[in-house]
Symmetry: C2
Subunit: 495 residues, 2 copies
């Protein structure tokens, strides 16, 4: 792709590749007075897979400039809304590659794909535990006066669907989803307001064998895309550790979610604020100190010393680490009591994937949420799952030089040499497509040189040329682009 910076739109659009050459040759400042030159800068103003750094640096608000046309109606901002992304072909190829890996791994593990509405009832996401997520809802009243919200996460919708399906489904369910989620965050640090999230959930299994299976699937994903245990690790803990401390200080169960949400803010807000929030939840000074103490524990041995060997949290964590060994991913995970996760509904094992250099935000996270369904008015079913965003992993892959090179792929470019042969070219294209060949048909009367450039741009394997003398003999010319080989062939023999 070439960039023409001082040529009028009209010339460029009608004769894209000729325009630059034309201007170079004539050295005629044909378009210096053309009023509608778009700033090429506009290309770099929205956060994309390949340009996350630019987004971090801030975002231009360049507008389409006013053209001379009498049809002019309004200027629009050519960028997507702040915090959102377009997916032009090069970005879409990356997204497709990433999602395909999410999908293939989920299928390897026997999970079935599901999806839910992007727009849900607001009530589904409003919990009373003081989560950050509540203040970041994209919510509004629809034309029927219903409070609705763009989903900030997928789990509540999944729980809703499980409730709806009720007894008609056989447990366990193993479901995965890849869906766009929305959070209205401050746009510092290049964070976006939407991202795609890969979720895998197991509904109906109370054992930590389920968590072990989930972590195994994420590890499988990492290995598949070239990420090793020296790049990425998992911190694992259990909310039952905190629950045990709260139980010892007779803190009521109903405060559990709120306490967890507060503790999750440890690295985000000052310690005094954390303590105040905990005191506000009627925790004694001693309970607060004990809670903060337990969070510093980094080994199961130490945890056993503090809590004794009989607590449920310990038994489950031990079983998980033992399973990890058999699965073959024990070098990927370690115990870290400071991991709590920010969502109110987790009840047991929680885990978080992070880059070993600690340069990026969490790559993924999840855990067990055995009591989510009852908060929606249903009977509880044991469940666990994780969310894995599409942003941080791309940053990591870029950092490690592991982003794949994905170029456009078309097998054939078919080009007629002359207006009167356009119809013949359509026929050739149709024949090839019927045989399963992908064909970019040149739809205008273009010189051969242009067709070659086009074929190179779309990485075509062959350029099929429909010329009049060959066509009269029922033949077309074939140029194999990798080898330069060139030959004529009867159209009925073309495949």
């Amino acid at each position: 792709m070439h960039v023409i910076t001082n040529c009028s739109f009209l010339i460029h659009y009608r004769y894209p590749s000729a325009a630059a050459a034309f201007l170079r040759t004539l050295r005629h400042p044909l378009s210096l007075d053309a009023p509608s030159i778009f700033k090429v800068k506009a290309l770099f103003t929205s956060a994309s897979y390949s340009e996350l750094d630019n987004a971090r640096a801030g975002r231009s608000s360049s507008l389409a400039s006013h053209p001379p046309s009498s049809d002019f109606t309004q200027k629009i901002d050519v960028n997507p809304p702040k915090g959102t992304r377009d997916f032009p072909p090069e970005e879409m190829r990356m997204r497709t590659w990433l999602f395909q890996n999410f999908r293939e791994v989920s299928q390897l593990f026997g999970f079935e794909e599901v999806d839910f509405p992007v727009l849900e009832s607001e009530a589904l996401f409003v919990r009373k535990a003081g989560e950050e997520i509540k203040d970041q809802l994209y919510c509004f009243e629809d034309r029927g006066n219903r409070r609705v919200a763009l989903r900030p996460e997928l789990t509540p919708s999944l729980a809703r669907l499980v409730l709806q399906k009720g007894k008609s489904v056989s447990l366990p369910l193993k479901w995965f989803a890849i869906g766009q989620c929305w959070r209205y965050e401050r746009m510092t640090r290049g964070r976006r307001r939407e991202h795609y999230q890969w979720n895998m959930d197991i509904i109906g299994v109370p054992n930590v064998t389920a968590e072990a299976e989930l972590i195994s699937s994420i590890v499988t994903f990492f290995k598949r895309i070239g990420i090793t245990a020296s790049d990425v690790g998992f911190k694992v803990s259990s909310r039952k550790v905190l629950q045990e401390v709260l139980r010892r200080y007779s803190v009521p169960d109903s405060l559990f979610g709120r306490v967890c949400v507060t503790i999750d803010k440890l690295e985000k807000i000052p310690m005094d604020d954390i303590k105040n929030e905990l005191r506000a939840a009627e925790l004694s000074e001693q309970a607060v100190e004990e809670l903060l103490q337990i969070l510093t524990v980094k080994s199961l041995e130490e945890l056993e010393e503090k809590l004794g060997s009989s607590v449920e949290a310990l038994a489950e964590l031990k079983q998980l680490f033992s399973l990890a060994e058999k699965y073959g991913y024990s070098e990927w995970i370690h115990f870290d009591a400071s991991i709590v996760r920010g969502l109110a509904y987790y009840t047991g094992i929680v885990f978080e994937g992070f880059d070993q250099e600690r340069k990026l935000r969490a790559i993924c996270g999840g855990g067990r949420y055995d009591r989510l369904l009852s908060t929606f008015g249903g009977e509880d079913v044991p469940a666990c799952g994780f969310g894995f965003g599409d942003a941080v992993i791309i940053e990591l892959l870029k950092d490690r030089g592991l982003l794949p090179e994905l170029s456009p792929q078309v097998q054939n470019v078919v080009c007629a040499l002359g207006q009167d042969l356009q119809v013949a070219a359509s026929l050739v294209a149709t024949r090839l497509r019927e045989k399963g060949q992908t064909v970019d048909l040149v739809l205008e009367n273009k010189p051969l040189k242009w067709a070659f450039k086009r074929a190179a741009r779309v990485n075509a394997q062959r350029l099929i040329i429909v010329g009049s003398s060959e066509w009269e003999k029922g033949m077309v010319g074939v140029k194999v682009l990798s080898s330069g080989e060139q030959y004529d062939i009867r159209i009925d023999e073309l495949e």
Copy 2:
């Protein structure tokens, strides 16, 4: 899948398949007093690919019933918001199948996939031509006081992206997208408020070769999924026909979009209202009559009689029908001057795909929009494209008995016989997955009978049984489900 209607949740979830049998055997009304029996009806209350008819019949607002649990927080509606859909596995398989066909056809034609934000600036969709779409916008003010809207269609976003890319891209662009679109419509006739739309657009080609290519791709799609020309046809016209009439009555160009939008309502609102709207646009009585007259024309010969042979509309239509013949789809299309389409921005050829029995709404529609970019403040580029929704085509396929049977597909179910062999089963599953085999691993201690049922439900090819006597010899049992063949094999030989 079996449906248990009077068994408590707990029993069902823990022992899903055993519960019904247990109740049948004992004839003990164990759970008649269980308070949390969900209405199975809830399953049929949202419009899904397979249950469109039920949606049409109205929608229950059944709520999750109040459980005895002390964790109770709030009742939620277990259904997705009115007019939206969940995609449980069976619906998702259908969506994936449909989208895969959209994708493969687009790629056959050399198109590259793109996407845009679901949430766009409202300004992108608000045109002044009185379109229905404007009153159906899901729009709101975000937390930063920006007017935003869930996209009702994809074309304006595409135009925005083309403007943004400016001169950095080589024309023509051939782009396709499959995106969710939102319209707040009245919920009569089972219409939904969201649908997925497949779009293909060609940017930078002024010739009708582009429209011919687009229609060819839709025909290719139809043929691929078993739809013939006796099921579906295309009505084709050109807005230049109306433009010619308006020109003859000296109606200013600026009224063109508004007149087209009015005329498109012909079958939706009374004729008097149409005439009044046209008069309000300052059309003379004679111009109104002439316009309405021309819409009744059903052949190019008649059109030529009325407008003369020299008008641009006629030349383009003739070329399109001639190309259709060479492409081999002329039996699929016919001229019909009444086709105008409801969007303001079309300028030339317009077309609509419909079922031959006329029982359904339009299946797809599109046309040329050469002046859209200038309405956004850019320089115009010739462009055309179409939108193809995911709802009507599914209704048609269902009607014709052409919906594919898509069942879950897992190659292996791996089951340990005994709690202590769970870890061994994980190891077997990991081995198989490393060899590319999909594995549904049984994560709980289940009897063999349960594993067989599970294997049948997920259509597994093999059931791999990890039993203690075999495992001690480094072997597992294999049951091939299609043949009933059964044998033991060393784990390192398993593939």
